[in-house]
Structures are given as C-alpha cells and as structure tokens.
C-alpha cells in the first residue's frame, strides 16, 4: 500500500512539475465552464436549476482528456527505460499499475472538485436535485476511473505516447458511443448486450440520481478488467 502511494505521489508531483496538471485543469474547467454557462444549450437556455448540461459536457471532455493524461504513464517509462529501474526495486507489476491509477484518479478528482462552485451557484438559483448531483459526480468519477484504466492499459502496450493516446481513444470510443449505437440498431439478445456494455447507459442513469448496484458492478468490472490487462501486458516486458 505504501509502495502504491509512493509511486502515485511521484506521478502527481511530475504532473504538477511538468505543467501537465495545470494545462489539464485549465482546459477541463475552461471547456466545461464555457459550455455549462455560456455557449450552446447552457443552463440559462435550459432554464432549469440542474447540472445536466455540465455532466454531459464533462462526460465528453473527460473522454478526450484522460487518454492525454494517461498516455505517458507507462509508455514513457518504457521509452526511457525507467520501467526497468522501477520493477527491479521491491515493486510488483500490480503496485506499479495501481500507483499510476491512483495518481490519475486523484488528479481527475481534484479537477472535479474545482467545479463544486457550479453546484453552489446553481443551488442558489433554484431547487437543485441533490441526489442527481451526487449521482452525476459519482458517475463522472467512475467513468474517469474506467477511462484511466483503459488509458493505462493502452500506455502499457507501447513505448510511444501518441500510439498510447490513440489506442486509448479507440478502445474508449466503443464504450462511449459505438456500443450505444449498436444497441439501438440491433434488437434481441445483442441489442440487450450492447445496451449493457455501453457506458452511456450506466452514466445516464446515475446522473439522474439512480445509483444501482448493477451500474456499480459494471464500472468496477471494467476498471478491474483493464487494470488486470495492463498488469499482464507489463508482465510480458515488451519494450
């Protein structure tokens, strides 16, 4: 546990040292703020004291930003050879993956914490559904966790950050829209299957304030699956 935290701490420090964290925060807050308050179907246009708009903007912003955050996590270590340094110390493959995962998730949680003023503002305008807000935030954190584990897996496959970024987006797009589209075109068993696999389905029900164990299991199993894949790919030591 201490090892995981040591790795996560180093990773977080390097986020903040390399300005990556600030760029990420700025862009995330900029985008979500802009679309929530000023452009398109913003809060004033909808005319409801609801954070729906924010959640759906964040849903897409995170989809693009997380692969950018995770692309270097293992790929860069593969590239510079520091992976060898790390794994020959008393660190298991799993601790390494979990450390990277923790660091990324913390950064996302910090970014999301910066949007809490939105909640306060909207709550002061009208009657805000607190369940939906809680569910929405929880949904965003879980969704981020899924994309982080996908991103770390993609990063473990290569020593090239761009390849890692594109691979993560490619895998992510299936959960983000492709499965959803397939679910609407297909019917019967496959329709049901893709409906279940689509991340959108689970996220939407959560951001309405419905927290179902089925959704939690869905998110948890994706996170575990991709982290396990990352660990296995690390164990192969492809350089």
């Amino acid at each position: 546990m201490r090892t995981v935290w040591t790795i996560a701490k180093r990773e977080l420090n390097s986020f903040f040292d390399s300005l990556m964290a600030y760029v990420m925060l700025l862009l995330f807050l900029g985008f979500s703020g802009l679309f929530t308050w000023l452009i398109g179907s913003d809060i004033f246009m909808v005319g409801q004291a609801s954070l729906r708009t924010f959640f759906s903007v964040a849903y897409w912003t995170l989809f693009f930003f997380i692969p950018a955050l995770t692309m270097g996590m293992i790929a860069q270590e593969n590239n510079t050879g520091t992976i060898e340094l790390l794994l020959t110390k008393p660190v298991t493959d799993r601790q390494l993956v979990l450390g990277k995962f923790t660091a990324s998730l913390l950064l996302v949680v910090i970014s999301l914490a910066f949007t809490l003023p939105y909640v306060v503002t909207v709550a002061s305008i009208g009657n805000l559904d607190q369940g939906a807000v809680f569910g929405g935030y929880l949904g965003l954190v879980l969704l981020s966790a899924v994309y982080i584990s996908i991103g770390i897996y993609a990063s473990s496959l290569t020593s090239n950050q761009i390849v890692a970024f594109l691979t993560a987006l490619f895998i992510g797009i299936f959960f983000q829209i492709v499965f959803d589209m397939l679910a609407t075109t297909l019917s019967g068993f496959f329709g049901e299957l893709f409906h279940y696999l689509s991340l959108t389905t689970h996220f939407e029900s959560m951001s309405r304030g419905v927290i179902d164990t089925k959704d939690l299991i869905y998110f948890a199993s994706l996170i575990v699956l991709f982290l396990k894949l990352a660990e296995d790919s690390l164990a192969k030591r492809n350089l």
Partner: protein
C-alpha cells in the same frame, strides 16, 4: 548473500540470448562479467534482478529462489541498469528520496541515507539540480547512488564507469572495491583494466554461453598453458647460445627475436620453468643476461582468444 545461477536460458524469438548459464558468486566476491556486445551480459543481469524471468533454470540468492520469493529478495539487490535510465525531470534529492521510500527504508533513517549517498558519490554540488541538467558523469553517480541507497547486500552494475572521467573512474573503482569487502558485486564491462583493477573473479561469456571462469591469473594460465620467456644474452655467439638454450632439459622451443641483439624467446615445456636453467647456463658459459622478461598473456589476448569465433 551468495548468488547461485543454475542453468538459466532466455531467448528473444528464435535467438537464444542466454543459453544454459550456471555460476556461483560467493558473498564478498566481486565478479567481472565480460563479453563482446550481444553476448548476453545484459540479459543475464536483467534476470538476476528479476526484471526478466528465465525460461529455464533458476537463480538462488542466499539460498532462496528468486523466482518464488522475488519481492523479498529484491530488497537486497541494488541495480544499475545499462544506459542508466533516470527520471530526467526530477531533482537529484527528490529522486533519491523516492528511491529510498520505494526501497521501504524506515522514514526516520531516510535523510541520513541520502546524505551518505550524496557524500559517497560526490553529489553535493549538484543535489538540487534536475537530473536532466546533469552531465553524463554526474548522472552515472546518481545511478550508483540509487543502487546503493538501501545498503543492499548484492550490487549488480551494468557498465558502471561509462561516461566517467579518469579521476572519477578511479574513485568509483575504489568505491566498488570497498563495497566488495562485505557485499556481493557483479559488474559487467568491456574495459579490461577495469576487471583487472576491481574484480576477484572473471566470467567471460560469448553467444550466451560461459567460455571462461576464473581469476585473471588462472585464465591466463588456462589459455597460455606454457611459460614464455624473452631473454637477451650478451657476450656470446648468437648461434652458440641458441643451440645451448635448446639443449636445456626444461626448454621446448627457442626462437630468435632479434639475432643482432641476441634476443630469444624461450618456450618451456608444459608445467616447467626455465629461468633458473637459463641463468645457470649463462654463468657456466660466462654470458651475461641483460634482459629476462616473462611474457604474460594479457586479459585482452585471452578475451580475443575466447570470443573471436
């Protein structure tokens, strides 16, 4: 802790990088690992540090299998990988802090260990700089510092002196010698003087197999087999001296090196020395020996002999 390697094999695709290597390194021994490029030195070291798993065979450290008890055993190993990879963006001191934490050194003894490493590796001037800003020599020192920070019982160093200037090389070799009194050290290099200067024992590998194992002296004997003397005997007729030398009971063969200067090369019969016989012969005949040099096979020659084909 001693290291016992039993029959390890590792291949990359169809090519066998390491092919059934076995050796034993005793506690407190400094083993020099020699071999041409691509001989399997680095691969062997990666297996010794549990970065790669051997396909066959096993490695025992202090009697425990590295494959089964990797997490426990890795705490006792300090490793400087080839090319010395480091986190370029980290300041030296932060990096050493990170390494100390990850080696699970108790928090209260970390500052002391870092200070010690900064002193031993001569990093005081550079300790607040980012690693990426350091010269190659200083980076190498950082690499050594991270390998030794947890005071490991085993040190595995892949080409530890590359990029260092001559003064630093002398210092680092001295450091390795000192460490080697208590610790088990394996270092790879292709600098022959380094092996002669620091190592107790030499292992030469070629094409994934061990081709020689022993001290510098024993290897020289193994390759050379017979004693070779170069002598200059004056105050006599060269041809007469030549004949007299050839008739000595211990001499196998005599060669003229420089007839005008009366220089000869004398090869003794296996297991025999000729220097005394030559001296007695010269005193008997009233000749003067002005040179007598035992020709040693240098490590370079041994290396070439063993790895050329």
């Amino acid at each position: 802790m001693d290291i016992k390697v039993e029959n390890i094999t590792k291949s990359y695709g169809p090519q066998k990088a390491v092919d059934g290597i076995s050796f034993h390194v005793k506690t407190g021994e400094i083993l020099g690992f020699l071999g041409p490029n691509g001989a399997g030195k680095t691969t062997t070291m990666k297996m010794l540090t549990n970065y790669l798993l051997p396909e066959e065979g096993n490695i025992f450290i202090g009697g425990k299998s590295l494959i089964e008890e990797a997490d426990e055993l890795k705490k006792h190993i300090g490793y400087l990988p080839e090319n010395n990879p480091l986190y370029q963006e980290m300041p030296v001191i932060d990096y050493l802090q990170f390494c100390a934490e990850i080696q699970q050194i108790p928090g209260d003894s970390i500052p002391g260990r870092i200070r010690e490493m900064v002193r031993v590796c001569g990093l005081n001037q550079e300790k607040h700089k980012k690693i990426g800003e350091l010269s190659k020599g200083y980076r190498q020192r950082v690499g050594l510092a991270q390998a030794m920070i947890h005071d490991p019982e085993i040190l595995i160093l892949d080409e530890p002196t590359t990029g260092l200037d001559p003064n630093q090389i002398v210092e680092i070799r001295k450091l390795i010698r000192e460490l080697g009194r208590e610790k088990t050290v394996i270092l790879s290099t292709h600098i022959m003087q380094e092996v002669e200067a620091t190592c107790d024992r030499i292992l030469i590998i070629n094409k994934g197999e061990i081709v020689a194992d022993g001290t510098a002296d024993s290897l020289a004997r193994q390759v050379q087999g017979q004693e070779l003397l170069r002598v200059r005997i004056e105050d006599g007729d060269p041809n007469e001296i030549f004949k007299a030398l050839q008739q000595l009971p211990t001499v196998e063969m005599v060669d003229f090196v420089e007839r005008d200067h009366n220089r000869f090369e004398i090869q003794s019969k296996a297991g025999m020395n000729s220097n005394r016989e030559v001296f007695r012969l010269a005193t008997r005949k009233g000749w003067v020996i002005t040179e007598m040099i035992p020709l040693e096979t240098k490590l370079e020659d041994i290396f070439r002999e063993l790895t050329m084909n």
